[in-house]
Structure formats: structure tokens, C-alpha cells
Assembly symmetry: C2
Homo-oligomer: 335 residues x 2
Amino acid sequence: MTNSESLVNHFKAHHHRATALAHPNIAFIKYWGNSHEALRLPANPSLSMNLAGLQTVTTVTFSDDFAADDLIINEQRLIGPRLERVTAVLDLIRMQAGLHMPARVESVNSFPAGAGIASSASAFAALALAGAAAAGLDLDEADLSRLARRGSGSASRSVPAGFCQWLPGSDESSVATSIAPPEHWDLRDVIVIVSQVHKAVGSSGGHRLASTSSLQSARLAGAEARLAACRKALLARDLAAMGPVVEEDAIMMHAVMMTSHPPLYYLEPATMAIIHAVMQWRDEGIPVYFTIDAGPNVHLMCEAAHGEDLRTRAGQLPGVQQIIVSGPGGPARLI
Amino acid sequence: MTNSESLVNHFKAHHHRATALAHPNIAFIKYWGNSHEALRLPANPSLSMNLAGLQTVTTVTFSDDFAADDLIINEQRLIGPRLERVTAVLDLIRMQAGLHMPARVESVNSFPAGAGIASSASAFAALALAGAAAAGLDLDEADLSRLARRGSGSASRSVPAGFCQWLPGSDESSVATSIAPPEHWDLRDVIVIVSQVHKAVGSSGGHRLASTSSLQSARLAGAEARLAACRKALLARDLAAMGPVVEEDAIMMHAVMMTSHPPLYYLEPATMAIIHAVMQWRDEGIPVYFTIDAGPNVHLMCEAAHGEDLRTRAGQLPGVQQIIVSGPGGPARLI
């Protein structure tokens, strides 16, 4: 064996690498609050659409050559709570694979983080898939969705394709499944970005506050009915039936946020300006509805035919910094 | 009897006139939704402060010389639903007094109507008092509060002095009473007016929608506890204890509004800008809290020492059209 062959064998034995891509998703029925914090079992079922065009690409490399886990997002090395959250998912993978190597996680987002486009969803979906593959685990979609969930609840919904439903339940059963492929309905999410500032209170902290709002139990009590109505309308491609449910569900989440202790105010002046514009556009006959995640940005839901018109209209509103138009995206996948 | 004496006697016998003044009020614990629409029995107890300096002055004249009831607000003759609502209160007065004359109601507001300062509260409190006096009825405060309530729920709270509590109950018992006189606490309401546009959906219509929100029952369930906490803090002059309750209660009302069917969005971009400014001012150490009625304007609650500073600060925010600073006001009274 030459020195060079020895190096190659050493690399094969001690390096395990895989790269995966995942899309963020926009929830039509929101996830807010856990019934079990550590396992991230959600307090209510949720439903979302993966966002094509936006993506996180993550490479996981396990190697004995590393001293400790390393997290590099958009070429920036991160330590502290964000690294710990990634390590927690890597630990689940290592435990299952009987692997004891540290990992380097290199992740690149194609979209701004922290302001209403759930970067943690695509990030942990890609991490779960790349990590499991790098560790040599043979996991099915449900396994991967469950693993992604442990990193970020909404990441469970970025594992399957298209339109995904995530049900509460036990650690075993709480996974997302696709209820329709991306081709089912050419919906558009016109993402109106009014702020790219990182949230003062991240989603994980917010989920823990949900139960401190006296409106949360009313929100939870109706979640299943809203999910059923939304799913039915989605499967029937009936935007006029789906839109009002989606708007109400989003406002309910923000009502819980604003009445939690302490309260969380994600809605900005520009957010309200867009909401009022949506009402006016609907009065003018344009079938468009809004939803808002845990941030100030507004997602306009419409069918493909109205996407560009709404991009133009939204671009004329005050406070709008950027607009991204996305359609239904595929599943997390290895690349 | 001369012709002239005959005219005077005719006037005395057939004209009955009185003038009353009442202040609007700002609710710290909101009234939203009725348990009985026609009687305007509220679904929950509420608590407010009369606003000194702002006032409605109303003159009621009963006369056989009139063909029908006439309503003149700010020198403008009004017909339709607003006149009918006034006639309904006049009918209660006429029935009780055994009077059968039409009335002329002339009313002048010292503040903009229809955008978050409850002009209907001061208007119906003044109407009840002037109307009862003109009709020769000898009513006590509770009687007048009950009568005002039939015109506009929150008007019941503009009859007694200072800080008033209005309890639900039967037609007989549902009246407002003063829990502290104006001198009890030199609070300020810094009213930040961002719009003087008349509301698309008035409060009466909104009250009827309250029960269509799935958040209303949660709001009602906690109203008594919020009222008790607010009243206790108010009596102790403890703004730090009172403020968060008042803010939460206001947001709960708007959460109900935005999730009713159809939804009501009173919050404007400028409203959110002021809410965020209040949070920031508090971070800077200024003891100020907000509340919002059924409109986009924001009421800043503070003690007298901070009133002018907050007037200056609020005046620098975008979208602010006018600022009115008011303190605790007295009862409705004859003038």
C-alpha cells in the first residue's frame, strides 16, 4: 500500500459526507406551541406548502479528524445555542448509527434568515437528510420527518413533497406527510419582505410562551376544524374557501403572541399596510389572501395567474424591501 | 289675556328644553359584544375613565310645534339610522314621562367623531340627561346610566364621575357606577389621532359580530379577572400593575374583531408604529401603556408628569395627525 492509498483508505474509513437540499415552507395552518418541548410535539396540527426556488443546501461531514461539531452557515462559523441545537440532532443520528465522530455542518441559504421565512425548517430538514445519509442510516420519509422535527418543529413539514400536513401525537407518530404533490395546484406565495432584521424572540422561545396566552386554548380548540377546512379546500383547489381560513388562522397565532406573557409583537406598520392592501385588492376582484409567520413579512397566497400582478402591486407599498415569488416545492433530497 | 301672554303660555305648555354636557370615556377594560342586543346588556364588565376637556353638549327641546324628531349634530341635520337610534332613546323618555311631543336634539362635539374616541358615549349620556330633564323626569344617576346605555353601551359609563365600572346583568342592574372620583388619580390619556375617517363598521355593528369570533368566549372568560386586576391597580394608583392588563385587554378585543366573520381590521400601520414606540419608550424607562378602541387611534396612558413629554414624542411619529391630552373627567351634568 502506497502512502497515497493509505490516505484514501483513511479518508474512506474516517470521513462520511453527504449533501442535501430542502425548501422552507409556508404554513397555511400554523404551528404555535408544543405539548412536549424537548420532543417538539406540537400542540396542534398544521399544514403547509414547500417553497420552490428557496432552499437550504447542507453538507454534513463526520470525521475523526474534527475536535468537535462545527456549524458554518453562509460561510459564517456559529457557536452557542445554534450550534447546540444542531449538535442535539447530530447526537440523535450518531446514537442511531453507532457513530462517535464529530461533524462539520456547512449550510447555505438562498434567502434571508430570521424574518418570516422559516429558515430553520429547511435547515433542519436538510440537516436531517444529509446527516442521516452521511452516517449511513437508511431512513424512510417518516423517520426523516421525525428527525427534522427534533431540530425545528416546522422542519418536519419540509421533508415530504408539496403540500404537507403535520399531526400532533407521540414521538413516533408526529411526522409530516404529503397530502398533495407540488403539481396538484400551482399556488403562488408572493413573499413581501418588509424587514430582514433578525427576530428579537426566535420561534423556539415563542413556542414556549404560547401557553401563557389565555387565547391559546381557544386557538387550539379550533385548529383541527380549520385544518380540515383548509385541507378540503386545498384538495379542491378552492382558494375562496381556503383563504379566509388561512387568514383567520394566522391572526389567531398573532393574537396568541400579542397576549402571551411577555407579549410578542411581530406585526409592523408595513405588515398592517399590506393586510389592508390585500382587503382592498380583494374588493377590486383579485383573489388574494395573506398569511404571516412569526415575523413582520406577509405572504400573499394566490394562483399563478395573479403572481406577477401582485408582485408589482406589493412593490408599490411603503416599507417593502424585497419581493420573492415562489410556487409549490418538492421534498428534501440528496444532491 | 293679551295675545303676547297667550304666546308665552303656549310656549311654556308646549316647549320643554334642557341642555347637558357629558364627556367621552376611554375604556381600560373593553366592552365588546352584548348578551342582549336590544337592551345593550354587555357580555362582559368594563371599566373606563371619563375624558376631561372633551365633551358633547346636547340640547333637547320637546315641542308640539315639531312635526317629528330632529337630530342636528355639529350643525348638520342627520336622518336615517342615527336619527332612529336617538328617537329610540327619546321614546323611552317620552313613555316614562307620558309625553307625546316630538323633539329637536342639537348636539355639538368638541372632538373628531368616529375614529376611536367614543363620541356615541358622550352623546347618549348627554342625550339621556338633557332629554330626561327636558321631559321633567326626576331620574337618579343609575336611572340615567341605564337610559344612556340603551342608546350606546359605553354611554352608561359617561354618566357617573371619574373612573367608572359597568357591570353586566339585567336591564335593571346593568348600570355604571363611579369607583373613584376624577381627583383620585391624575392619569393622562394622550390620544394619538392617526385617522379621522369615519369607521366603515361602527361599534353597534361590531358588537353584533363579536360572538362570531372563536376567541370571544376566551376573552369573556377572563374579563372579570382583568377587571378586578385593573380596578385594584387603579385604586392603588399602580400604573405598572394596571398597564399590562389594559394592553392585553385591548389586544384581546382587536383579536376578536380580526377573527370575527367578517373580520374587522381597525389597526392601521400608524397604530402599530405607536404600539412599537410605546414598547421602546418603556424600555427607555418611561411608564406608558397603550389602549385602542374600535378605531386606529392609540390612547397612551401615563401619569400627569409624563403627559407633555409623550405628546412631544408621539408627535414625531409617522402618520400622526393630531394629539389631544386629557385627564379624568367629571360626570354628565346639566348646564
